[in-house]
Amino acid sequence: MGLKTQRRIPGKQISVEDQRRFGVDGLLPSKAMYPASPEEAAQSLQVCAEAGVTAVIHGGGTQIGLGNPPRSYDVAVSTARLDQLLEYEPADLTCRVQAGMRIQVLQETLAKKGQRLPLDPPLPGRATLGGILAANTNGLNAGRYGTVRDWVVGIAVAYPTGKVARAGGKVVKNVAGYDLMKLHIGALGTLGLIAEVNLKVQTLPEAAATLLAHFENVSDALEAARQLARSYLAPASLALLDRKTLWECGVTADWHWTLAVGLEGYAREVKAAQTQTSGVIRSAGGRIDALEAPPGFWERTRDWPAAETDQVGLHGMSSLTGLASMVRAAGPEARLLAHPAAGEVHLRVPIGTAELMLWRLRQATGEEGRVIVRSAPAEMKVALNVWGPPPPGFPLMQGLKRALDPKTTLNPGRFVGGI
């Protein structure tokens, strides 16, 4: 990379402010591109590929700390100008949006027609749909409504070859061609730039209710969560919080472990679920002190995993039983937020003990689960092995990267196994 200063880097001059905003793990881009259409995005990437420079795609920046530090970073490709709603037909329960649209803006549009996209990733005021797909960012309700992949029915992707290619379509049921939506969801922008997204939406629930229950010990809380997660009237949101996390989410109670249950559905269904949930909690040894969450509680809980801190953020994903093992292994002093119905747990760990905690969690979850570093100081990332061991089928993943991004233009090194 000694030649770096001699290469002509394409793109617009970047303001100091944007340069800082687009920085990844301390690396700053020297140019930026702001495509306004899928075709322009493809041309931008092609220009980068042909010039032999590297690019990072930037949406809302809420997940920009994810992954290894890039091996190099010349150009930021921002989706800020790709922010239009392209089609929305409420009676079809589908919409088509440009990927730079912020999810909150979309939700507000849908809400006017009594609908929503049942995904609730952190920081919806900033997170873009393209970023949510690329980072596969899920929220509190994934146990009930599924993850990002369950709501995307079509996609338009700009590739470094300069081409725009689509997959899927606009309709809710479609098996024509390969499901390349799945390939790009969670790919962290290493295969192409997601330019447009076609989504399924659903009617807003008729009723909602919250229960906050607290437990003396974590095993009882996990047992209650286990029963709720597999019952027919499963909660829409189910979160397990330790005492400190609870405070940070706005509840100042001296509870060891809190199970926050969000119920949604038809009015009579929610009523029945309240009764059932209370029964499960009591018989597992929990106490219900609040039938209402304080204002802002659910929003703070949703955003907690993405908040910027000076600690290391870990994200465990496993089976429902694997989740329970991870929570137990984290120990009584851990600061965590678990989604027991989705098999996910987020932790904040002091820098000094991050390596030990990561090791303990990876031991606990076995080969079935994964624990990744969600955020950490760049200099720690290599030692922590942020993605863990390469997943099965890794050579195929390398092959896919070579096929679709042959010059390694996009996000070099940031993804699993250094892809």
């Binding site: 037909e89 409420p90 009676a91 079809d92 596969n136 994934a142 146990g143 599924g146 993850t147 992949r149 369950d150 590739y159 081409k163 290619a165 689509r166 997959a167 379509g169 606009k170 309709v171 809710v172 479609n174 098996v175 024509a176 061609g177 390969y178 499901d179 390349l180 799945k182 390939l183 969801i185 969670g186 790919a187 009617t203 807003l204 008729e206 286990r226 997660a229 597999r230 027919y232 009237l233 029945a272 994903m317 496993s318 089976s319 039983t321 098999g343 996910e344 079935e368 994964r370 990744i372 993605w387 390469p390 997943p391 089928g393 195929l396 092959g399 896919l400 096929a403 679709l404 699993v416």
Partner: protein, 490 residues
């Protein structure tokens, strides 16, 4: 392949699976030349492996010899997905039909590809759980085939299609490797979602040998309604109305008059013979909620022109209504010696104009077209009735099919909602994808299968003429089929 090469291939396959389970005899392989589509092609050899390891070796032998292979389970593909159009080896999964594990704690089951869809749910039901996707052919089709086509069914409206219920795969690759991909018992994992990519790839990239599926608690109650309409337009508008009123039904199915005639004759489910169209609607929930929603749906249906709404009184009546719907394709034998089924999708709001356009095509061409389909999803199944013994009819029917799929594509829909592209629609895929789109898919395919030996001739366009099979040289019995014959098919 010539006879010597076939014998050599068969000998190598026999060495893997034993002499009983591999054969290349011209007479024996004939059973494997067809599926539920009209197309046929003879394989060079058939192998029926008994384990994933055997599959892996078979795949490796095929790759070494440069011989194509096609995985086949229930062979109920309506799109020619399992017809060995390039010859080669048919890998039949009939022996790999074990349910390997049921993990109620983690809401997963692990199965071999040959497990019949319905058999899994029957196995789970006593435990209070089921496998949600229920294609109409669920008594014959297998989970492996469902994974190949990303199969749907009536209940996808609320619960999604196969890919939403599959979390892991073990696959054999052309390299002879056996790898496990996907989060399996977790919901998400790291790396590219190879499971999601492979589901619905119609066996063109790898062969599945083991499948992790989600299982769900059985709804405490289901209420099924039959709403009767004078015509399909009124019924179509009612579909949009129900969805627009904030009710999330588990299924909304439609049948037009011609379909009702056939279904009623076959199953005596109590469908009104004089109705222009009927909707079959279902809601799931706890008993009080299901009851409530059934009433609300019933009101909406009446408000939007239903002349009558019947609610299934008990489970027997409900099952009778579903039996009629799920047996609809096979009941068509009562109307016509042959039928050709399409699988187009349109946005729900385009249903009325699509159905009217199809009616105009029927009038213009003189071929009767029935409609029995997943109205809630906008997934149409026009059935073109014809007689393959009459020269030229099949060719005409294929043209009608092309026209209907073009219509769906032009209205913002798709050429296939659940049956797959297969052999049947490989040229029609250009209605929905550009060459650039297909190029990317082809690049992805070659990562898995650089020699293109996995189910070749499917999914991708060849830009050639579609092969029109000669009329079948068989005798035909006159009259209605026996009840047990109607019960087993699609």
């Amino acid at each position: 392949l010539d006879q010597a090469a076939r014998d050599h291939l068969a000998a190598r396959l026999k060495a893997v699976v034993g002499p009983k389970y591999a054969f290349a005899d011209r007479y024996e392989v004939r059973l494997y030349q067809y599926d539920a589509s009209p197309e046929t092609a003879l394989p060079d050899a058939v192998v029926i492996p008994g384990s994933a390891q055997e599959v892996a070796v078979v795949v490796k032998i095929c790759a070494e010899m440069g011989v194509p292979l096609v995985a086949r389970c229930g062979s109920s593909s309506l799109a020619g997905g399992t017809v060995p159009v390039a010859g080669g080896v048919v890998v039949a999964f009939n022996r790999m039909n074990r349910i390997l594990e049921v993990d109620l704690e983690n809401l997963r089951a692990v199965v071999e590809p040959g497990v019949v869809n319905l058999a899994l749910s029957q196995h789970l039901r006593p435990l209070g759980f089921y496998y949600v996707p229920d294609p109409s052919s669920q008594g014959a089709c297998t989970i492996g085939g469902n994974v190949g086509t990303n199969a749907g069914g009536p209940h996808t409206l609320l619960y999604g299609v196969t890919v939403n219920h599959v979390t892991g795969l073990e696959v054999a690759l052309p390299s002879g490797e056996l790898i496990q991909v996907g989060p399996k018992k977790a919901a998400i994992s790291t790396g590219y979602d190879l499971t999601g990519l492979l589901v619905g790839s119609e066996g063109t990239m790898a062969v599945a040998t083991k499948i992790w599926v989600k299982i769900a608690p059985v709804p405490p109650a289901s209420k099924t309604l039959l709403a009767i309409y004078q015509d399909v337009r009124t019924a179509s508008n009612a579909v949009s109305a129900v969805v627009g009123k904030g009710i999330l039904p588990a299924a909304i199915e439609m049948m037009d008059n011609l379909s009702i005639q056939a279904v009623e004759a076959a199953s005596h489910a109590g469908y009104p013979l004089d109705a222009g169209a009927v909707l079959l609607l279902e809601v799931d929930g706890i008993p009080a909620v299901a009851e409530d929603l059934a009433q609300r749906m019933s009101d909406v249906c009446r408000e939007y022109g239903a002349t009558e709404v019947r609610v299934a009184k008990d489970e027997a009546e409900r099952q009778a209504l579903w039996k009629g719907r799920k047996g609809a394709f096979s009941a068509m034998g009562r109307l016509s010696p042959d039928f050709y089924v399409m699988d187009g999708v349109v946005p729900r709001t385009k249903l009325p104009e699509t159905l009217e356009a199809i009616a105009r095509i029927s009038e213009r061409t003189g071929f009767k077209i029935c409609n029995v389909f997943h109205a809630g999803d906008g997934n149409l199944h026009p059935l073109v009735l014809f007689d393959s013994f009459k020269p030229g009819q099949y060719e005409q029917v294929l043209k009608i099919g092309d026209e209907i799929l073009k219509l769906c594509a032009d209205l913002g829909g798709s050429i296939t909602g659940e049956h797959g592209v297969g052999l049947e629609k490989r040229e029609n895929i250009r209605f929905v994808f550009s060459q650039d789109d297909l190029d990317v898919m082809d690049q992805v395919r070659r990562v898995f299968d650089p020699l293109k030996l996995m189910n070749p001739g499917k999914l991708f366009p060849t830009d050639g003429q579609r092969a029109v099979p000669a009329p079948p040289a068989r005798s035909r019995r006159v009259g209605a089929p026996a009840p047990e014959e109607e019960a087993i098919w699609v």
